[in-house]
Structure formats: structure tokens, C-alpha cells
């Protein structure tokens, strides 16, 4: 650890987040919106992109928890399933409009995250990881015996008119853009810096005045909220939801893959990871049954031989960082080190 820090301090790091980078991003986003408005993309392309946007959002949120805050969760599917079912119940049982269903889904995700935090934040590391998984499994099991959500029989989402692919594309794109801005801004704030400090050493962070519970709660609630909306949009696209599809551990498999392959603890990593994931997933559809085996094997190989993922490795090799808050934390560590020496 010490070595890395020193090495990166010695060589100047180009942080690509100036005006140029901002303009590039705005152009890309504008293009993605314009392409939709002018109907440039085929509906197939839109479906791919939509999937990518949703997976980026989920990946960024998992990364926020695991990569930046040290809370490795195996249970983010809790929020996907809850939001998906909320939209289904809202639209088919209560005939509410779909946007209201999404909002209620978001609210439920946030409230559940808030309540769970009192239980989960008493745990660290693997206990936290397992507990999040157990909670997802428990909710899944409960849903299978709950007549209100049609037990294990599944529910369909009903809306008149049902949103078409371009509209769902717009929802996913907007969610992705907002998620990226929120992650970027969050990591820039004092809370963001505190979080990174906390991941590296919770005790030290608390001793320098980072309110651990509050910071963790903020991140957990944000992650839950965005993951919930992503789940809701995903199931709106799909039309039906079952407990076994909503609360499936496969969601976590995807998120872990995206973040590990893209580069854990980097903002740009999940973007690359999600693109790789969606392309690979599409390709692996030709080999039924092999998909998880190959994804799992790739993830293990990456952990073994490329532990920083694609973006992490590129950034280290080429000495650049995209939208990083790391330079602040490194700066801080440096000051800390000087203080220690004196």
C-alpha cells in the first residue's frame, strides 16, 4: 500500500476532469439524447444501450459501496426486487401511473435501506456481505408466501399506454446521467473523502472526525435508491417479475463482474465493465448454460492477474485518472505522513 502511494505521488498524475473532459462528456450525452429524438438508433441498439445504462448505474452503486466505502454487499438485489414488485403492484393492483410506481419504488428502497442500516452497520466485512445476502434471500422467501404479491406466481406490470422502447431508453439514459453526476459530486465532497478514509481505516477516520454512521448511511441510501430505480426500469422493460428473478443473486454476480473487470474504486471502471458485460452477455447467449461459468472464470482471472481491473490498470500504467477524487485523498495521506515524520 505504502509503496503504491509513494510511487503515484512521485510521478505526476494527469487528472482528466478539466473543461475538455467535461465538454467531451456533454457531447456524448447530448448525442445519446439526440440519437433518440431523431430516431437514429434501431430499437435493438436502444435495447443494448438501455441495458448498458442500467448496469452502469447498478455497477457504480455497488462500486460506491464496495470500492469506495468498503461495504461489500452481496444483497443489492433486495432493492431491485422491491422496486420491481412495487411498480407491478402499483400499476396492476392499484392502477397507478407508471412514474408514480417508480417513485414509490424509490421511496420503498430508500426507507428499507434506512431501516436495514441499523442492523447492517453493526457488522463489518464478510459479516456485512453475508447479512445483505441473507436479507435478500429472506425477502425473496417471504414474497413466495405472500398473497399480496401473488406468492411465487409472479406479477405483470400494467400501464396504459405501456412505455415504448425509446421512452424506456430515455428513462435509463437519464438515470445513468444523474447517477454519474451524483457519484462524481459525492466523491468530491468532504463526505466522499471521509468515505475513502473510512474504507482504508475506519478507526482512524472516526478519530479525525468523520461521522461514520452518517456517511455510511448517506452512501447506502443513495446506492439503494439508484439501484431501486434501475431495477424498476429493468422490469418495466421486461413486463413481468417473479421473486426468483427480482431477488436473484445473479444481480450481484453482474455488479461484481462489472466492477471487478472495470476497475474497483475508479469512477470510470463500471462504465467500461458494464459495456464489456453487456456485450459478453449477448455473445454468451449463444452458449446456453455457460454464461455464469465464463463470467465467473473471467472475474477470478482478473482478481488474480489484473486486480485493478481494466481502468485501474490503464490509469496506473499511463498515469492518468478520469474524474478522480483520489488526488485529494493522496494529498491528505501525504500530509499525514509528513506529520508522522515530524
Amino acid at each position: 500500500m505504502e509503496n503504491k502511494t509513494l510511487a503515484s505521488v512521485r510521478k505526476p498524475i494527469k487528472v482528466l476532469d478539466g473543461k475538455v473532459m467535461l465538454i467531451v462528456c456533454i457531447i456524448i450525452v447530448a448525442f445519446l439524447y439526440a440519437a433518440n429524438i431523431f430516431g437514429i438508433f434501431s430499437s435493438n441498439t436502444m435495447r443494448y444501450l438501455m441495458k448498458i445504462f442500467l448496469y452502469i448505474t447498478m455497477g457504480e452503486m455497488w462500486n460506491l459501496l464496495s470500492g469506495f466505502t468498503g461495504m461489500t454487499s452481496l444483497g443489492n438485489q433486495t432493492f431491485i426486487g422491491l422496486a420491481g414488485f412495487t411498480v407491478a403492484v402499483a400499476t396492476s393492483t392499484y392502477n397507478l401511473p407508471i412514474w408514480l410506481g417508480i417513485l414509490i419504488g424509490l421511496a420503498i428502497g430508500v426507507v428499507v435501506a434506512f431501516l436495514l442500516s441499523f442492523v447492517l452497520f453493526r457488522m463489518r466485512g464478510m459479516y456485512f456481505a453475508i447479512a445483505t445476502w441473507v436479507i435478500a434471500e429472506a425477502i425473496c422467501t417471504a414474497f413466495k408466501s405472500w398473497p399480496y404479491v401473488n406468492m411465487g406466481g409472479g406479477m405483470s406490470i400494467k400501464a396504459k399506454p405501456y412505455p415504448k422502447t425509446p421512452e424506456i431508453y430515455l428513462m435509463a439514459l437519464t438515470l445513468f446521467v444523474v447517477a454519474m453526476i451524483v457519484v462524481y459530486l459525492l466523491l468530491r465532497t468532504k463526505t466522499g473523502l471521509g468515505l475513502t478514509a473510512m474504507r482504508d481505516d475506519a478507526d482512524a477516520a472516526s478519530s479525525v472526525g468523520v461521522n461514520i454512521f452518517k456517511s455510511k448511511l448517506l452512501v447506502y441510501v443513495i446506492a439503494a435508491g439508484f439501484t431501486a430505480i434501475a431495477g424498476a426500469i429493468f422490469f418495466i422493460n421486461k413486463g413481468t417479475i417473479y421473486p426468483d428473478s427480482g431477488f436473484n443473486i445473479d444481480w450481484t454476480v453482474s455488479m461484481v463482474f462489472i466492477v471487478i473487470v472495470g476497475g474497483i474504486g475508479t469512477v470510470s471502471g463500471p462504465v467500461v465493465g458494464a459495456i464489456v458485460y453487456v456485450l459478453l452477455d449477448e455473445f454468451l447467449a449463444h452458449f446456453p448454460g455457460w454464461s455464469n461459468i465464463i463470467l465467473g472464470a473471467i472475474a477470478i482471472l482478473v482478481i488474480l492477474f489484473l486486480p485493478d481491473g481494466i481502468m485501474g490498470t490503464l490509469q496506473k500504467k499511463l498515469h492518468f485518472e478520469i474524474f478522480s477524487q483520489k488526488r485529494f485523498s493522496e494529498h491528505k495521506k501525504d500530509i499525514g505522513k509528513k506529520a508522522q515524520l515530524q
Binding site: S66, T72, L74, V119, L120, R122, M123, R124, G125, M126, Y127, A129, I130, A131, W133, V134, I135, E137, A138, T141, A142, K144, S145, I249, D250, V253, V256, I260, G289, W290, S291, N292, I293, L295, G296, A297, A299, I300, I303, L304, P307
Partner: protein, 280 residues
Amino acid sequence: MIIIQYLINGIMLGGIYALLGVGMTMIFGIVKLTNLAHGEFVIIGAYASTLVAQALGVDPILTLIVTVPFMFLLGMGLQSGLINRVMQKGSEPALLVTFGLSIILQDAMLLLFTADARHAGAAYSSTIIKIGSISIALLDIILLAISLLSILILTWFLNKTYMGRSIRATSDDTQAASLMGVSVKKTYAIALGIAMATAAVAGLCIGLKWTFYASSGGSYLLIAFGVVVIGGMGSIPGTLVAGLIFGLAQVIGGANWGLLISYVLLIIMLAVRPQGLFSK
């Protein structure tokens, strides 16, 4: 009378659950690794026993002669070839690697053995012994005996042999153990080998008692984890008690609610004594 019947059924299940937990607790306590693939190991054991018994036309229990050494070697190979290397990168990567292993194994079994339900039948599977108004399945008694005997042998091994002592010593202090001539990596490999051997036995029990699927690993992992958390790490009596608690929950709640009760119990336990149960 019905209470006694429940208690007996709970004890019968408890033995199997305790055995599930023992393999998990070994790896937790000694290698300091959360093995998320333990459920799949158990299902591999179940398939191995079922298939070998079918192929050779022998009693499933006899297959242990083959499956236990096979799983032991598999575990040793896995630890020395993969997990020892990942563990140098930290506990979180190691956790994620076992997670990756679990999904790989699950889908590999799905490909190899299809999604069909499996079951290992034996001649005594439907024999019921009646004592007054209480009835006990002969199979349950046999499975309880197998579970307890396995745990007993393991306890003896850990307490009375050089190898067993070196495993406990490594769990207490790796550096001090290496000063006594213990190779920590080799010890870890043996520990995972033993954990997989217990998974082979647990798998046999599950195959004899219930039907199982390629995807059944997850729920057995959570039971195993629950037994570890509630029983306390490395405590074999604790593991037995926790097995009994989970067995009773299952008997009282039935399949679905029993699982839910177990999950809720586990979460409460984690929240109330998060590290307490594991701390020395």
C-alpha cells in the same frame, strides 16, 4: 407427545445441519476465509454419492469410501492452486473468488447433471420405527449417527494428532505455528480438504433425506453460515446446538417458513452479537 415428536425430528435434522456447519466453521476459523462455495461443495458431494451408488448399484453410504478422499484432494488442490494465491491480495478478493467459484460450480453442475431433481434411494429409506405414539424413520437415525460420528472423528483428529494440533495452532497464531515447523499454506490446503470431506458426508445425508438440484447450494450455504454464527466459531458443541436450533426451526415452520425463521434468526444474531460470537 407432539412436542417430543417435534424435538426428535429437530434433533435428526440438527445432526445434518451441524455437519454442514462444521465444514464452514473449519475454514472460517482456520483459514479466516468465508467460503461462499461451501453450499456447492455439499451439492457436489450429493451428486457424487448419488451417481456412484447408481453406477455401482451399492448402498449410497458405501460411496463415502470414494467420495471422501476425492473431495479431500479436490479441496487441497483448490486451496493450494487458487485460494492461497488470492488470499495474499486480501480478504475481500478472497471472498469474491469463492463467490465466483460458487456460481461457476453451480452452473457447471447444471450443465453436467441437468436441472432435474435427484435423490439417493436406499433399501431402508422408508422404514419407520414406532415407539408408543412416537415414530422415527430408520433413515433419520442412520443419518444422525453418520453426522455425529463424522464430527466425533474430526474432533478426535483435531485434538489428538500432530496434524490436528498444527491446524489448531495455525488458527491461533500463524507465525508462532511456523516457528514450530508448520507450513501455513499446507495447513490451509489440508483444512480445505477436510472441509470438503465433511461436505461430501453432508452431501450424502442430503441426497438420502431430500431431493436436491444443481441450484440447491445457496440455501445450504446459508444454513451452514447460520450454524457457524449461532454456534460460535470453532466450537463444536456450539455447532451441535446451533444445528439443533435450525433443525427445530425447520420442523416447526415447514419448508418455506422454516427457512424464513432461520434467516431472521441469523440476521438478529449477526446484529446483536456481530463479532462477539467469533471473538476470542
